[in-house]
């Protein structure tokens, strides 16, 4: 299955339509989006006695999608993301993975995947509309690539586990990644991983086919829309009252009821408070020589 074809974050597009046109509710947003993507190019979408041509609407929805992902300026968003990734790498490799560490990791992966989908769809809309500004397109593409790289870094250098010990070897592998992210942060928004770094870290997305000149964005949008429609038809949304879920949770046996688990959790929590000379040396080097890697 291709990237995004599970349609996990498709509802984000409905949110973007609602944000771009506040007078539209979710149900109408579905209809409008479907028409926008699947209708012929000369088709106009009509609602509230107003006609919009496809390009106009795509442009407005692309803006709304970008607004869903950019918190403050792009520079601020980049700094927040890189700080978040560095913290996830650090917390997931500092001796013990607590439940909170795993939640932090998974929350970031989920947020990054949703944002990546939003930005990619905005990029697709802009490609179809024929966005004139190459700078805007370059920035969008760069942000998509960065989100893919960040997700790869976390998947490659952290374990998808909770309440587990981390080996010294894993810590040693993660240490230079944390240091590199901190250096990158100090170099600012325009700087990116070098090709050599991307290759050695196995996070290279510069040549992804769906970001290349030959990619058919209109076909991709149609395909993704049809997959979503299939999903909505085969899995009608059933509202489950909250109390049913609560009851199910309460009858499950507790996973944390044995002494060994509790003591392991206790150790994990306190292990994060130990002084680590390797960490000190790494931090000292990264604060003293922020440009070292960039100068190579």
């Amino acid at each position: 299955m291709g990237r995004y074809e599970a349609c996990t974050y498709f509802s984000s597009l409905y949110d973007a339509v609602c944000n771009a046109f506040p007078q539209i509710d979710q149900s109408n947003a579905r209809t409008i989006l479907r028409e926008l993507i699947l209708a012929p190019d000369d088709y106009t979408v009509e609602f509230e006695d107003t006609s919009y041509d496809k390009k106009q609407m795509m442009d407005l929805i692309a803006r709304a999608l970008i607004a869903l992902c950019i918190d403050g300026s792009p520079q601020e968003t980049f700094n927040q993301s890189i700080e978040y990734v560095a913290n996830v790498i650090k917390h997931m490799n500092d001796g013990y993975i607590t439940k909170e560490d795993a939640e932090e990791r998974n929350a970031f992966l989920k947020k990054a995947a949703r944002c990546e989908f939003d930005l990619f769809t905005a990029y697709a809309f802009r490609q179809i509309v024929g966005e004139q500004s190459s700078e805007t397109m370059h920035e969008l593409k760069l942000n998509i690539i960065r989100l893919r790289e960040f997700q790869d870094l976390i998947e490659n250098y952290t374990r998808d586990e909770a309440e587990a010990e981390v080996s010294r070897e894993e810590f040693e592998q993660a240490r230079p990644i944390y240091k590199m992210l901190k250096s990158l942060q100090s170099l600012g928004y325009d700087y990116n991983f070098s090709p050599r770094e991307r290759e050695s870290l196995d996070i290279d997305h510069e040549d992804d086919a769906d970001l290349g000149d030959d990619f058919h964005y209109s076909d991709w949008l149609k395909r993704i829309m049809l997959l979503q429609l299939r999903k909505e038809i085969s899995q009608p949304k059933i509202e489950v009252p909250d109390f049913i879920n609560d009851t199910q949770d309460s009858v499950l046996p507790s996973k944390n009821n044995d002494l060994e688990t509790k003591i392991a959790q206790l150790r994990g929590t306190y292990n994060k408070r130990r002084f680590d000379s390797h960490r000190f040396i790494m931090l000292e080097q990264s604060t003293e020589t922020p440009n070292k890697e960039g100068e190579e």
Partner: protein, 145 residues
Amino acid sequence: MSDISNIIPSYLSKASNEEKEIFFQVLIHLSATDGHTDESEIEFIKEAAESQGLKDIDKLFTHTDEAEILKKVKIIKNRHLALELIKEMCMLSHVDNLLSDEETLFIGKVGIALGIEMEKIEQISNWIIDRIIWLEQAKYIFEEK
């Protein structure tokens, strides 16, 4: 200042006033490295400084420049007192949920200024954390938690 005085003697009471002042200034600076200062920590440090016979305690809170503190801490030449300072730093910093980057950096830098080996700082930190874990385990083992 801590409940281990029966095992390890405190050298702070025998230190000069200048040494005592920088001893507490280091702790005050450490308590503020993570961006916020806990009132109970400050009260604790103030009381401990007073119990050591220091006057004008508020003055200690005005000198917070890290470079100046790292320079001044070198007046502590007694290794026992230096180890005691590292121990108190490790105890103070364990209060938060994790040892922050800023705290790690400051403890390491003070250690270097005092001529204490990194391995020794780790030993002290591990000893403190192991002891806390041991005490906390009791609550589970004796089913108090």
